[in-house]
Symmetry: C2
């Protein structure tokens, strides 16, 4: 007998490992002809690839070797283990979710059917002899009949739509036992779902706590709360108790993400432990939110999107989080750790977990709790018209309840959202869609204290652009300076992967020049969205500024420059629009596999790029910032910029100076010394404008440098293109 | 013993009448010093006025004589009657709701407390000796401490806000037993709430019916459905059954409002009867609804507001329904009948029951069922910021569940709406407000097949203007021709009451000229809203067009002209904007008491005005229509108009002709003979424009006449102002 804690939250439960086998079936009732070794949690594709020696999925066009696996039935088999049990202990098979639908058989007899990744099931096998076969028949990937081979095939299921193919994700639909699925020994009387709820007093000095433990057995559980030093601060034998002066959970940029440990004990022997925290998040109207609309006929004011944390309005800075791997089972704590650390180090305080992807495993939320990162959590609906169909609504009800009950325990949870871009033409859902009314209902019933959005964007919020320069030649500089959104919850600036990354997954023969129909396209450099052949590499855009691209290194360097300049411009412009705007989340943070070009800040698996560094600088709590109208300038042209001081921090900035310098090649000119007054906490200050005639430097670029802050820590630099006109010369080093 | 059917739906239950007395108390525990006779249903103010000889409330400034009554405690008293009962029958005191909070005492002992107009309670008094005192202590009108003497006092209760004072409703807060409250004899085993639910097949040829009867007693109820000729068409002993080819319920302008009778029988003796009907209403996107927004950053498309009835898109025409009396108890079937007949005869197909008022009694919905009028039903929230407070939410939950369960039985129900203008600055609620999330939840749980709006307006919809001509001199002609709303769910054109009406409630001494601080102001002719001294009489507007107003008859005649011209312009313009726009509901239909000036189409109690006639003509299913840019023209000026044919009917219009004539004084000129092609069902056709130099007629007005349709039934006439310039002459007859 092997035994290990089954679960960090249930330290007394013991997992009993067993071996798993997997067979691919033509039909659900086919006799398995060949077994391969299976890893659980995992995916049928991973097991099959290992057994059959399929090539590494991330390289070249290998992903296509996995085609077809999604359409088979797959039979998992294990056997009830020998398990030494104390008196009264039970042996159960506990599964936390299946991707996507399955039938469970015990000794060949069907015992249950299940659909859904995010809710689990159990089978008590205490009375089964060791060695009894436990089979899980996984059904083929669900596909709506008649739908094209794209996300619309998933428009009636709670399976993440992204795996049906997206502009940054290949068509690869994982199947199988993706989450925990194992035999567990536990006391007959034990603690199941423990719900930690609280109401903070208006002045945050009191937390009225309710601990509801679903327990089998007669005894009432008792519970206590331990502080960060493991000292008990509260003990109670009843469900309710009050904690005075709770330490509040803050995002890392506004305070400490204070956590406590909740420990629930059942007299009959079981114990449950979990980190908990205290915070209040609301979505409130921006300061000017009620001013519009004016005049008759008058409509409504835009809905609130300004995040208020523990009574303080904060500017939400962050990114869109997507599946960190093609296979959800591979999204382990170890995979998440460097990514989430990068998110925090980017000065981000909020991650939008996008509805096209999975709802992340517990470790994601645990780490966000610890790091002080807020999480905007969407349900698994994205860019589809999910129907008012009772069968779909039944599974959505089950899955959403399970998700809410689990995630609401985490202090990092900022808001619920129905899903991605559901109220846009390409989806076609509306406020009347029953799926969204159901989600609103379930969130209200199970977590009324957390804000709920039916989708993003709602009115006032903006998504896009996803290009540095659009079809009409408008750059993100102009686009965002003209925009007046309450939140920029998606915007992207594409760039190519670093050259050494590209060499690692694009075969040598295809590497130069980038061409359609090669691994470049498989990895999203061409025709990634809306059949725009340029997306996401946009070589033509680079050539518009810099002339013909000669080699891979130049491609990567120029692309990175544009991506970084674009992200810097957008993040800072969104902040300059505070308080009307209160949120900037770029599309997207991470990747599910190596892309050749795209909008992510971090290349798969966890390598930050130039866009990341730009976002990181633009999201510092305090910085000097320049509003610049465009990227490319000409020698002899008069350059102008507005100088600002941006303060998202909870502290007043004392008066000081910003020094503005423009340098091109060897020339450097001090344009301004701005002596600014004290700036209140959470406030921006618009300063003077600077002008300068751009020198004939002949080096292709110039830099505006704003020196400010203690030790220069609020300084900002803007590297822009400087054109010799006519004729364009060679770029200097 | 007196006995009568207690309720049309429960023909076997017998009401036993008793006498009621009422006492006014200084304190809740005071001994009553004086009893007056009380009428139940009624209001404490009505009983008190009768006993004390208070003057008629609608005349002059008499309403102020009722001040202060709202702040007393009121004790109702009756006695348990002698009631002959068959074996097993019970005697209960049944109350359908209380305005607003009460304590019930039996023989001096408190037996329950209740809050709310829209949910009831019962006390079984079968075992009480006849003569036992039953007291109902009604508490003073709820007022939030610290709030001003206006609607904000009601921002934490489910009591209609209108009675706290509105621009067309005096401050008069009714209290007491406003709904049914009587002793009832009924079988011990009896039918309580009966729920009739159905799902129509996509092709409307099948209704899968579920009848859920809450019954005391062991026997299973049986039920049958009778058609309009009382022939049984379906009988069932189980909850579910299917009706083939149900006759659908349509609005009167699109078909027949077909009704069936549901009869539920309990073997032990009780029976329940109710009219039911079959229809499907959805809110769908307008044809062009997905086209916007375009470009990045992109927000969402406006929410759907186009009414689709039984699969057919219809243009919703109608009005806002308000309390038909200051005292809800006086809103009887007899009061409603002429009003609702007028609504139907106005060619309206939808009434918005505004959230500031009561939710109407059953007879309102019964009559709408029969007349083929759709009902947009709001919950009792209006223009306030109703809090996330648990106490308020508890009552709202109770009241809304009761309202939904009752009203959803009516085929006339078109949609639920949280309340009026809650997402505007003067209210301050948002999508995150728990009250609205709770209402969404309850509507989803109890009536998912009916659309739900959190409030009106939502995005795209417009409210206002409420003036013929605004501060900047823009007229409704210009305002609405420039507007691009998806629905005009409120707009008003004010006018004075007819002269003989004014004479009936304004004392002779105050009649002329209208002045602030007199009965004119009490009846809303001055300072009715936003402290605009002109509202709602707008004498200055009349004088802008017509010069000084000399007498009451001229005031009324000119005011009516403007009101009619304005309503004609707005209703027709909204229809010309179809299909982008799909709804036009003016503010408002009726009145709660006589107003001296206002936007209503029907003066209290049931007298249609010139605005009514204009709306009636503008809402005909088919008409010829002219888009005209302004109201006042000058002699010698070139007049222009666009000619249209508007078809909201479900039938194609065959080709035909529109003859356009302009007449002024004795001169008449035929401007156009437009031969139009066939026009598809539900479609408009834009025709040619006409031009004409306006003659020097010297008569102050001219008329554009469009002759069209069988027997001229689609003809329209536009009477406009014609100015002699210079100098203005006397108007001709």
């Amino acid at each position: 007998m092997k035994g290990a804690p089954a679960n960090a939250r249930h330290p007394l439960w013991r997992r009993v490992a067993t071996d798993w086998q997997l067979a691919r079936l033509d039909r659900p009732d086919a006799e398995p002809s060949e077994w391969v070794a299976a890893t659980v949690p995992g995916a049928v594709q991973l097991d099959w690839a290992r057994a059959r020696g399929l090539p590494e999925i991330g390289f070249g066009q290998n992903v296509r070797a996995y085609d077809g696996l999604e359409d088979s039935h797959w039979l998992y088999r294990t056997r009830v283990p020998e398990a030494r049990r104390a008196r009264g202990e039970r042996l159960v098979f506990a599964c936390e979710g299946v991707d996507y639908a399955c039938e469970v058989r015990l000794a060949g007899r069907s015992v249950l059917r299940h659909k859904g990744l995010f809710s689990g099931f159990e089978v008590d096998v205490s009375d089964c002899p060791a060695g009894t076969e436990l089979d899980i028949l996984v059904f083929p990937a669900p596909k709506r009949p008649g739908a094209a081979d794209d996300r619309t095939q998933a428009d009636h299921v709670c399976k993440p739509a992204v795996s049906y193919g997206w502009d940054w994700h290949p068509r690869l639909i994982p199947l199988g036992l993706w989450a925990g699925a194992a035999f567990v020994v536990r006391p007959e009387a034990h603690l199941r779902h423990v719900d930690f709820a609280y109401a903070l007093s208006a002045d945050f000095t009191r937390a009225d706590i309710t601990v509801t433990a679903e327990a089998t057995g007669a005894a009432q559980p008792t519970w206590r709360l331990l502080d960060a030093d493991s000292r008990p601060v509260l003990e109670s034998a009843s469900a309710r108790a009050t904690l005075s002066h709770p330490r509040l959970w803050w995002t890392h940029d506004h305070g400490e993400p204070a956590l406590y440990t909740l420990e629930v004990t059942l007299a009959e022997g079981d114990v449950f432990r979990s980190k908990v925290g205290f915070k209040r998040v609301r979505l409130v109207m921006a300061e000017d939110g009620w001013a519009l609309p004016q005049g008759f006929p008058t409509s409504r004011s835009h809905p609130p999107i300004t995040v208020e944390l523990n009574g303080r309005v904060i500017f939400a800075k962050g990114s869109n989080w997507v599946s960190a791997d093609l296979f959800p089972a591979r999204v382990t704590p170890e995979v998440l750790r460097p990514l989430l650390r990068l998110a925090k180090e980017a000065n981000f305080n909020l991650l939008r977990c996008w509805g096209g992807a999975i709802v992340n495993p517990e470790s994601f939320f645990d780490q966000c709790d610890e790091l002080g990162l807020l999480v905007w959590q969407e349900f698994p609906l994205a860019c589809n018209n999910y129907p008012d169909d009772p069968g779909y609504l039944r599974v959505l009800d089950q899955e959403s309840r399970s998700i809410i009950r689990r995630v609401r325990q985490h202090p990092c949870l900022a808001l619920w959202c129905g899903g991605n871009e559901l109220f846009n033409s390409w989806s076609g859902m509306t406020d009347q869609s029953l799926a969204l009314r159901l989600l609103n209902r379930n969130c209200y019933d199970l977590d009324p204290g957390t804000p709920f959005l039916p989708t993003a964007p709602v009115e006032g919020m903006g998504h896009g652009d996803y290009r540095f320069r659009d079809d009409k030649g408008r750059e993100v500089f102009e686009i965002f300076q003209r925009a007046r959104n309450t939140a920029y919850s998606e915007f992207g600036c594409p760039g190519p992967a670093p050259a050494d990354c590209l060499r690692a997954f694009i075969p040598e023969s295809e590497l130069w020049p980038p061409r359609e129909g090669t691994s470049w396209q498989t990895h999203h450099a061409f025709r990634a969205w809306d059949a725009d052949v340029q997306s996401h590499l946009y070589v033509r855009n680079q050539e518009h500024y810099f002339g013909p691209v000669r080699d891979l290194e130049t491609l990567a360097a120029q692309g990175s420059w544009l991506q970084a300049a674009g992200y810097q411009a957008i993040f800072e412009e969104a902040r300059r629009q505070k308080p009307h705007c209160s949120m900037a989340l770029n599309w997207c943070f991470n990747e599910a596999w190596p892309t050749a070009a795209g909008n992510a800040l971090v290349h798969w698996p966890a390598r930050p790029n130039a866009g990341y560094l730009a976002a990181q600088a633009a999201c510092r709590p305090v910085l000097a910032s320049a509003r610049i109208s465009k990227f490319q300038w000409s020698e002899g042209e008069t350059f102008t910029a507005e100088i600002w001081l941006l303060n998202d921090s909870p502290a007043e900035i004392p008066s000081g100076e910003v020094e503005v310098t423009l340098s091109a090649g060897v020339a450097a000119e001090r344009l301004l010394q701005w002596a600014y007054p004290a700036v209140a906490a959470g406030r921006n200050l618009q300063g003077p404008s600077v002008q300068a005639v751009l020198p004939k430097a002949g080096c292709g670029s110039f830099e505006l440098l704003l020196r400010a802050g203690p030790g220069g820590s609020w300084s900002s630099a803007y590297r822009l293109s400087l054109r010799q006109d006519p004729p364009p010369g060679a770029a200097c080093a």
